[in-house]
Symmetry: D2
Subunit: 351 residues, 4 copies
């Protein structure tokens, strides 16, 4: 109800502020008896962590995941898995200058409006650091999905208007933008580095594909698979939109073209993005999200302080000029959480 | 869990198939002591009902809403409000030809995959008729929001690629497309009528604006206001995408432009669409959804029957060549449900 | 959240007031493909309905259950099953005298305090008639449990202090008190009839046994099987207590006696009532509930009116002098709902 | 769904095993801006901790509560409050002998049946240590209730058949049994010490009173205040029953006596225990729970090992011969959680 839990059967609850003592997650509903490997989880944490390349923030969080419950002798026990990451490179004093002002594009204003109190240090709970618990939990879900033959893959398709023109899966983790187009990657990197120099930022588009999902996942009418994926994606800070299959472009073609016909070998196209009537078709599930330009920029901006006085503000601190590369593992994590949850829900219904 | 409920405090549960005996809704969590007017609810039902104009299906459902519980002497009592609409113009025999085949773009295939059984009559639960209960419940929420000074308005901004170029609020209910551009309306109508003649269909884009919402609505980190609106919208059949504020286009501008600065009079722009960090800013909330072309078309399409044999199919029955005009009141209803629920959740938290 | 839903996977939502137009239930999460027989459900409704014998209220409700959705060609489809019972023998005018007063033992005072408004006709939502929807839904759950080899049996073991001394299962439905002791039944009936003449009432104890439940049902630590059964029972009006196994008496024996030892054939005793650590052991599940004396009596009682003036009140209307016989099917229904829900939850977890 | 969360608005999720690395809790839905005092919480932890007196287990857990998120400069922020207690005095080797056997009265058998795997060290998740997180969260709820003028008090009224005969509130925390009868305390202590010498155990009865609750709390029909309290109590290990007001004895008096009449000063009696129709009356809320004899005893008992071989077992380790004194703060904590949650739910409904 208060918004810090996600999922129904496979359900996570997260806690922690950016510059508090720790962030973490309780994962409830984990299948018992599954071999769990801390390294497997850590590998996903490392994909999300800051300081990976020249185009990400220089904050040094080692993001070491600690599993404190729910496993025994290397296996899950069916009881809640608790994972915690202690914060290390905290510099709350770096935020003193924004203590009494609202940074444009940030949740400073809205958190104060909502709660009447605000942990201003590094955006507190509104920081991207909150996603660390999601990625840890998502790694658990990913493991369970692997056992089901399902894989989830996200990557950047556009950065600041520079589009990818090909899909080379093997290239994704080989470039710092995590784009699927190795030829477009250099221009993307160059743009981001230039913006970093200018103290400005850009957005982009991230695409996600789910392979191996059985047909039948999703619970109409309200918990449609696409509805739950949309909620999952929009729950990530900086995400401003989502589209499935042909999405917005699909509104400009005719029904006779958009409808995915079938022959004895299956579907003849995938305009639907692998979900029809809120239920997976068994095809690849495909969606794209819009990632807004990073709010933290060092260009001077007009704002007000908490007393309503006008002022200019320059956001310092250590930030990503484009969040796409680091949002990729978060998108995958949230997608894994939705998929594993819906597998379990589907089974419950039929039991 | 099984997907037929929506909302947390102000919570609806719907039932009913297109060609069963009735559709309806239980609304739980309704504020007690509110004057309720059946006509007020009926007015919204009439906006959704089929057969309103030359460009909507000719199915004749009078959509008479019956309130059977939860009110006493003209006021809500705090107990569940139950509303039912008996189906009248059922023609299940019209669906005999599709009994054993999967209509492209429809949920025929996925429902059978999921449940192992399918009420094929008029798409059963996957029919747009399922939204009748949503609109009835949404009217209740709309009434409560009116008392809070909040209004919700949706309208068509694009049909089959024809874009609106102005926003004339008074024009919306005056043209059959429910577009905000009276000058674009005739071309949109013409296109839809032409497609109707051809037995084909088109999609479009519907925009929604919420006015008067206080800052502070939305429950980070998972039940962000935009996340719940996204889920609400994607739970509507035919919706394939959503974007808030500048949305996908916003990924192509710089952070220094996208960030909404402030002066002593408030925000200087609304690229965020009225929601930052998942919490309403107090500005107008603005989002757009992608509506796919209607799946039911009479153009011959390739498909298979339930035994896997290839065949061609022509969908007869009575259908809307473009669903945008009739999806408008559903978008408003779902938006009202989300808003009223979040108002109550916000209050609960602070109580 | 607002309290009119029960269960997680197999979930019911009820509506309706005693003297409104109808009462009913939506059942979500029903396994698809199950043969459903209206007569099977009606049979349970008939066990609950008023006017069955000399010791129950003379209100004539035929309690005809109508299934309006969720089935197709005699089978469940996986979509919500909606069942409604239209009220027929309403006499709201019989309640005019209590319109402005609080009947002792009734929820008149608390409903007005909570909601600020009250449907006083026949107790409105607080009436026992509200349980009709529970029994209809419970019959569905009972059917699913039968397929799993599980049976649920409740019966009266004590009435107004008269205890049963034997367990004769076949006798239960053969006497109007639904007691398991045919020798005690006449005295129980005589007491109830005498109280009816005096306009007074008595309470009693109802016991319930679940047979055939697999070990492993229940979700520690909060959704223990006994915790959910306790909630289910206390959610029934007039129930004031519950105990499992040896219950309160078990607090007076030593641990060495209370602990249920095992040998190779299984447990050697069942002090635990078939649930240990919140999880079913595979033994018979046994619990007992305390049913308070019916609140509606025609003996004069001290009370106040809604303006705070003191007065005497005599409750007229048609009421059961002892609610035990009619609470038996409700206890069974709620037990079935809990069991079927926990079966599904157990499966979801392991899926 | 998987059972490790409790509450709707004020909602807790716990994790941790008895002999794992830590136990703890995330509390979501905490009112922002409340002054929070670690000492206030620690005081409640100290009432629950082992080793307080001659009649409790000698396990030395200092139960130091650490608050790692959700507060800022001494106040709650509205974000999740996370509290953790690191385990210190772990002796997993003490449990080697029960690794392959089922202790009678313990959840060893049922956990293995349910999950197919079992953390046998100190009962794992089924240990009373799991309640530490509940008490920490309950202290937060207690603070919020204090601000509302509500107090919650539990105490032992019976131990191994020895009953208390008076209610002396000031005596409760002054005797190691936490009984309200200082005259009965010595006999109770003597019995428990004697049982400790014999390696046996006894049960008892704990009563709880809530004072200052407004009328109107509770959400009929399923989330009645007594229904949710019953669930809360039965979710505590070792609790086998609950009764409200006159409870089981109330089934043996007539309706004319049981009904609580009113005059202009309020209710004339409190047979209902302060809850009618599932809603608080504004009177004192009173209920009692049955606590079974501690399962861990060193008397030899018949059992089987995990291969089904019969054997005798003697449970060593450090245990409480009567759990009543230490269950008292847990009962209070769970009661606080239910009350605060229902306050918030009541407000949400009316907002």
């Amino acid at each position: 109800m208060a918004g810090n839990s996600f999922g129904e059967v496979f359900r996570i609850t997260t806690f922690g502020e950016s510059h508090g003592e720790a962030v973490g997650v309780i994962v409830d509903g984990v299948t018992p008896g599954i071999e769990i490997d801390r390294d497997y989880i850590q590998k996903q944490m490392d994909r999300r962590k800051p300081g990976q390349s020249s185009i990400t923030t220089s904050r040094k969080e080692y993001d070491i995941v600690n599993i404190l419950s729910g496993t025994f002798e290397g296996k899950t026990t069916g009881t809640p898995v608790f994972m915690i990451l202690y914060n290390t490179d905290m510099r709350p004093e770096a935020y003193d200058d924004i203590k009494h002002s609202f940074r444009p594009g940030h949740a400073d204003f809205t958190y104060l409006q909502k709660y009447g109190i605000r942990d201003y240090r590094g955006s507190g709970r509104a920081s991207g650091r909150e996603t660390a618990g999601r990625v840890a939990a998502g790694a658990l879900a990913r493991k369970l999905l692997e056992n089901r033959g399902v894989s989830v893959l996200a990557y950047t398709t556009e950065v600041g208007g520079i589009k990818s023109n090909q899909f080379v899966e093997s290239a994704i983790e080989e470039n710092p933008v995590r784009t699927c187009d190795p030829d477009a990657a250099p221009a993307m990197v160059e743009m981001i580095e230039e913006l970093a120099r200018l103290g400005d930022s850009c957005g982009g588009i991230v695409e996600c594909r789910v392979r191996g999902a059985i047909p039948g996942l999703g619970e109409p009418v309200f918990d449609k698979l696409d509805a739950d994926l949309a909620k999952a994606m929009l729950s990530i800070g900086a995400v401003k939109g989502i589209e499935f299959g042909t999405g917005f472009d699909g509104t400009r073609i005719l029904g006779s073209e958009h409808n995915d016909g079938m022959d004895k070998n299956g579907f003849l196209s995938n305009h639907s993005g692998g979900i029809i009537g809120g239920i997976s078709t068994g095809q690849e599930i495909v969606f794209r999200i819009a990632v807004k330009p990073t709010s933290s920029i060092s260009v001077a901006q007009k704002t007000i302080d908490i007393h309503g006085n006008e002022k200019e503000i320059v956001t310092t601190g250590r930030h990503d000029p484009c969040i796409c590369p680091r949002i990729v593992p978060v998108v995958e994590a949230m997608t894994c959480l939705v998929l594993e949850d819906h597998f379990k829900r589907h089974l419950a219904m039929h039991g």
